[in-house]
């Protein structure tokens, strides 16, 4: 029994140390990547290519998801508000929820699942097939040429995607509320115009998605770069990317909300 406990303690200790080491490696890695981003000024083509595969290819899922989330929100808030005769507030309710929370958070979660896992798999595969080593031996720094453009593209795409998500969501809500449920179109728009604040709601939502983009892309490229270069290691790294970035996004969302909307 005593022995078992000691083993457990040892296990926990070793695990914790391992985690700290990973965090340290990840931070040093981040530093290298950020430094490497500077070299992209002379090679904008690399960034454009990644903006395409990270941003544009994620766009479709974002638009579809945004549309449905907006429509569901309109239905749900209509049923909740109609009892109080406050169904005119559907517009403001949907707009506020999307701009403050759902836009940045759902976009980031979808991004982690779609673009993040793809980034991890791609970089991990490049590592497994010695492409990264090969570049190093050609005297080319893969941090600058491979990792940095992907990181920057993810970081830049997220706010753009989140903005599109929210806008499409509001339009979806408009379709359901005005076309299907017969609410007044004027009331749908005028309430948000009075209650939604450009700085407090829209800008803060964008700041959130910038932070999420930074963290989710960091996790994705790091997991790829740091993975065990076998098919099993690659699978684990991809799973870790999705799990860790989702948890990080939800945790950061709480922290940021508390900071931004505290009175």
């Amino acid at each position: 029994m005593f022995n078992g406990r000691l083993d457990l303690l040892q296990h926990i200790g070793a695990n914790t140390l391992q985690r700290f080491r990973r965090l340290g490696r990840g931070s040093l890695f981040l530093f290298d990547v950020v430094v490497g981003c500077a070299s992209l000024i002379s090679r904008p083509g690399l960034l454009i290519k990644q903006l395409y595969s990270v941003g544009v290819q994620t766009l479709l899922i974002i638009v579809v998801a945004g549309l449905f989330v907006g429509m569901v929100m309109a239905l749900q808030s209509y049923y909740a508000l109609v009892d109080f005769g406050a169904e005119d507030s559907v517009g403001v309710m949907v707009a506020l929820s999307l701009l403050r929370e759902l836009g940045p958070v759902i976009t980031a979660l979808l991004f982690a699942g779609r673009a993040g896992s793809a980034l991890t798999a791609e970089i991990g595969l490049m590592k497994a097939t010695e492409q990264l080593s090969g570049m190093e031996m050609m005297a080319v720094n893969p941090m600058k040429r491979i990792i940095a453009p992907r990181f920057l593209a993810g970081f830049l795409s997220m706010p753009l995607l989140a903005t599109i998500f929210s806008a499409v969501g509001v339009m979806g809500a408009y379709v359901v509320a005005v076309e299907f449920l017969g609410l007044d179109s004027g009331a749908f728009w005028s309430q948000p115009q009075n209650k939604v604040d450009l700085y407090l709601d829209i800008y803060n939502g964008i700041i959130k998605s910038v932070v999420f983009g930074f963290v989710a892309t960091w996790i994705a490229v790091f997991e790829g770069y740091d993975c065990v270069p076998t098919s099993e290691g690659l699978g684990q790294a991809t799973t870790r990317t999705v799990v860790h970035s989702s948890l990080a996004i939800l945790f950061l969302d709480f922290v940021l909300t508390a900071l931004m909307f505290a009175k």
């Binding site: 490049m126 492409q131 080593s133 090969g134 031996m137 050609m138 005297a139």
Partner: protein
Amino acid sequence: MSDILVKIRDLHFSRGNRKIFDGLSMDIPRQGITAIMGPSGTGKTTLLKLMGGQLRPDSGSVEVDGLNVHQLSTKKLFELRKRMGMLFQSGALLTDLTVFENVAYPLREHTQLNDAMIRHLVLLKLNAVGLRGAAEMSPSELSGGMARRVALARAIALDPMMVMYDEPFTGQDPISMGVLVSLISELNSALNICSIVVSHDVPETMSIADHVHIISAGKVIESGSPASLENSESAWTHQFVHGDADGPVPFHYPAKPLLDDLYTGS
């Protein structure tokens, strides 16, 4: 200019608790094909990575062209690597670029040549490996042997002073194997460079090598010309060169006697 290009002295390297090199010393001449042979798992690839500065030794030194690889700044190391070519086992071609762009890659990264010049150079290099016709293919369409030849064209794109081949013959059919063998030897004599071939395919390697080092258990066991190793006195070298099933390296993994195993337990 001394005629030794790579000078390895008392190299120690370990991975985790496993010692890979235990005081390895080796000289590689500036010209000709030098083969480094040894059984799987002796760290032949590791040795190449140490020469290229991708790994750091625990102690000892690796000098390439008079420069201590592991004491160079990153910038100097990158300068040195421009003069080294390396052919990876898998080819390590960049999968999102065409064959042409793969060979052009080091030129675009490290030279200011215009597009027409790059095109000329790339087509010449591809012609040298016989794949000019495959210039617009993507790496995923190539067979393993072709991918290695493209990688070879890329490795010589910057006209290096040395080319390192990591297991160039592994997993090739007899024809691609023959192509690679003659390519390595022809390129070496045409470019008059130093070629380092790491391999455990004895007959192919022996047929083109000028010097051979056999390593095992972290040390150089024997060095010399292929002919002298054929007739080596050492039983170990004899077993390795001739591929005998049993010898100093026993057929059986260490175990207790068979009868004991059969009659104990269940």
